[in-house]
């Protein structure tokens, strides 16, 4: 079974940038607003990804998407 990850970006702008980038590469992703989590400092947006995290994370970082933290869901 594919693993699910929460990629915390904090801002909605980085979440949408990351979501659109990953979707174009065929990833199964969506955005959720998450209140808890030390990376989000209260409120923030995250990308929920189902699939292989390592290449996805590289894609995001190479595109300048700020990642606060990544957790398995």
């Amino acid at each position: 079974m594919m693993k699910r990850y929460i990629i915390s970006t904090g801002t909605v702008t980085y979440a949408i940038k990351g979501r659109d980038l990953l979707r174009r590469k065929g990833y199964n992703v969506k955005i959720e607003r998450i209140t808890s989590g030390k990376g989000s400092a209260g409120c923030g947006y995250s990308i929920i990804l189902t699939g292989d995290i390592a290449p996805a994370e590289k894609l995001l970082r190479d595109a300048g998407v700020k990642i606060l933290e990544i957790n398995e869901k």
């Binding site: 904090g10 801002t11 909605v12 702008t13 980085y14 949408i16 940038k17 659109d20 955005i31 959720e32 607003r33 989000s40 400092a41 209260g42 409120c43 923030g44 947006y45 300048g64 700020k66």
Partner: protein, 375 residues
């Protein structure tokens, strides 16, 4: 009313802009970037798509560099007060609007003024070269004067700033959507835009594009993120976007960019400049008209032309024209620096500014009205 006050705001908005604003009010009812429900995310995605379009239009690095503000003045204040502190050094031009001069004064920074030549851009560039000294932190200047229409050699000044390691900010109130701007190619660090002018957007929206992050924020407040923190988040654009953004105006701007792209900026510019040049030649035929620039040439001027009728105050002439059904602007245009250089601080100028919807017939009517004052 024949509307020739487009340097203040373009007086006729394209149908696509009007319908885009109406559609935004209907279709995007939720606050973008505040909630997690689908309506909010859809609104946030719509705003994001305009950030992408705007970044591409101005040759910026990415959509996150595009900050929505209330107007171009707020964009300029954000840059000037975010970069400069008391005792810092800056350089500006002799044709600046109060939106640049007043925030510069407020910071307590020392600033020098480079005189803009109306005839030779090399002289202007040489002035900037002389004024930029060791320790200069920021150069800020208009893309074009809102009074005289003269463009500044932005690409050359940008290259100079890069060479000297100085931040470069451009007030593009009169040039965005009118002449091409590419931030990367022109080495512009901060671009301040008035979308309700050359991009035909609704009023109440400004754009600031930052290739570098200003140190300080102008205002602080809710950003929809990092709510536990008592300080602003450190990511653009949210760091500089406290409070809800003007989504309907943003969608209107998006349609305005489409309008400019569809017709072609060069085609629009050539049309507007041909009207300006026609006006200049007609006004130059009479010795009772005072003109302050050479005939506006392509690439060196934007479609803004100012004049006076000998012996008359500019506001009196503007009122006379208004009574004849022609909208122009008299006075000092919030830019006393430009009037100081032109020697018109006492009487101002009558400013005519052209947009895409204006016609030769509009200009002929203006010329006839001006001639009727002289008789």
């Amino acid at each position: 009313m024949i509307y020739l006050d487009n340097a203040a705001t373009t007086g006729r908005k394209p149908y696509g802009v009007i319908t885009a604003v109406a559609a935004a009010l209907r279709e995007y009812s939720a606050n973008p970037g505040r909630s997690g429900h689908s309506d909010s995310l859809r609104a946030a995605s719509a705003v994001y798509s305009v950030r992408e379009k705007t970044a591409a239009f101005f040759g910026a690095s990415g959509p996150e560099n595009v900050i929505f503000t209330l107007n171009c003045t707020q964009s300029l204040n954000t840059v000037i007060k975010g970069v400069l502190h008391k005792g810092d050094r800056a350089v500006t031009s002799s044709l600046e609007h109060n939106s640049v001069i007043r925030p510069l004064v407020k910071t307590g920074a020392q600033f020098e003024t480079a005189r803009v030549s109306l005839y030779d851009d090399r002289e202007t560039l040489a002035e900037f070269e002389r004024k930029i000294k060791a320790g200069t932190k920021l150069v800020i200047c208009s893309g074009a004067s809102n009074v005289l229409g003269k463009t500044l050699p932005i690409a050359d000044i940008g290259a100079l700033c890069r060479q000297r390691g100085v931040f470069f900010a451009v007030d593009a109130a009169q040039t965005a959507g009118v002449i091409p701007i590419n931030m990367k190619e022109m080495n512009i660090d901060f671009l301040c835009v008035a979308p309700h002018k050359g991009l035909y957007a609704p009023m109440g929206l400004g754009v600031l594009i930052c290739e570098k992050m200003p140190e300080d924020t102008l205002i602080e407040g809710g950003t929809g993120t990092n709510s536990l923190e008592p300080v602003q988040p450190d990511s653009m654009p949210e760091r500089f976007e406290s409070g809800t953004v003007a989504l309907p105006a943003i969608m209107g701007m998006s349609a305005g960019i489409d309008y400019v792209n569809r017709i072609g900026m060069n085609k629009l510019y050539e049309h507007e400049m041909s009207l300006c040049r026609f006006l200049y030649r007609e006004l130059a035929k009479t010795d009772r008209i005072e003109l302050y620039t050479p005939e506006p040439s392509y690439g060196k001027y934007v479609p803004v032309l100012s004049f006076n009728v000998f012996g008359k105050d500019s506001s009196e002439v503007a009122q006379y024209l208004s009574d004849k059904g022609i909208a122009v602007r008299g006075g000092l245009h919030c830019a006393p620096s430009a009037h100081r250089q032109a020697g018109t601080l006492d009487k101002g100028m009558v400013r005519v500014s052209v947009a895409s919807f204006n016609t030769h017939s509009d200009i002929k009517s203006l010329v006839a009205a001006v001639k009727s004052i002289i008789k």
